[in-house]
């Protein structure tokens, strides 16, 4: 099976542990080169985070374990890139805004 190079996850998590801690722990996983976490919605007790991970060989189970350990729940997997290189999604006529 091809290696996963990029993952984009939609995660609901409590405010603590912070995204600084979460990003640090995710970046320590093997096969991960970089992590980006951005908060796009904040509630009283929880926040919604978009987690982008890139690397040479991402293991989703390990990523999930770290997120769950920190109290987060993956709501959806929004993007996956696998293979020898990272490719962006191709633009189609449907994507062109009029």
């Amino acid at each position: 099976m091809g290696k996963i190079r990029r993952l984009v996850l939609d995660v609901l998590k409590p405010h603590e542990p912070s995204i600084i801690v979460l990003a640090g722990q995710l970046s320590e996983l093997s096969g991960i080169d970089g992590v980006n976490i951005s908060i796009y919605e904040i509630d009283r007790k929880v926040e919604n985070a978009k987690i982008t991970l890139e690397g040479s060989d991402l293991i989703y189970e390990d990523v999930l374990k770290v997120i769950e350990e920190n109290g987060g729940a993956v709501h959806s997997i929004d993007e996956v890139v696998a293979g020898k290189i990272i490719i962006e999604d191709a633009e189609t006529p449907q994507d062109v805004r009029r």
Partner: protein, 197 residues
């Protein structure tokens, strides 16, 4: 698992469960209680003209132990209930079981740490005040033990006030003096109980 890792984990738990703030509050409140209770015990003995140091030590130590157990038990049960409630509320938002996550463990660690602080703070604060009576064999004069103990209580109160002053970034001297006033008031009011023989 080495000590550094454990400390790191404790620091992380402290950040998650905000242990530091509440522990500091419990420490100050209960150490204050411990000192004032011991002033009460001392003044009670002094008013009753107790001149046997062993009686003061035994009543003092019994009070220390009772305060320690009271703090430990009370804080454990209260904190466990409050933390559980908070975790359930958080689970209501995440819709997941958080008990086996870092958050659940931090919550349980907070209960134990806070209970220990709540128990040991009054115990040790009271024990410090009682020290001159523990050394009564050396001091010999019972009145000297009373005065030294009450003096130590006031010093301990000042130190506690100074600590709170540092926490609130106010004047350490003023904060310490405010605490001493409480001790002096307690001594003065108890003094009226003094029974004349």
């Amino acid at each position: 698992m080495n000590l550094l890792d454990e400390l790191q984990r404790l620091k992380e738990y402290s950040g998650i469960a905000e242990i530091g703030d509440i522990a500091r509050r419990y420490f100050a409140m209960n150490a204050f209680d411990g000192i004032l209770t011991m002033i009460g015990v001392l003044m009670g003995n002094y008013s009753a003209h107790v001149e046997d140091a062993t009686i003061v030590v035994s009543t003092g130590l019994a009070t220390c132990i009772a305060m320690g157990i009271s703090g430990l038990w009370g804080a454990y049960l209260t904190e466990a209930a409050e933390r559980k409630r908070a975790l359930i509320a958080l689970e209501g938002f995440t819709l997941t079981d958080l008990s086996r996550t870092k958050i659940g463990r931090a919550s349980r660690a907070a209960v134990i740490i806070v209970a220990l602080i709540d128990g040991f703070a009054p115990f040790f604060a009271a024990l410090v005040v009682l020290t001159p009576f523990l050394l009564s064999a050396i001091l010999r004069d019972i009145n000297l033990s009373y005065y030294l103990s009450l003096g130590m209580a006031l010093v301990a109160l000042f130190a506690l006030g100074a600590f709170l002053g540092k926490v609130s970034k106010e004047s350490i001297l003023l904060s310490g003096l405010k605490m001493i006033v409480a001790g002096l008031m307690s001594i003065a009011l108890s003094h009226f109980l003094r029974v004349s023989r």
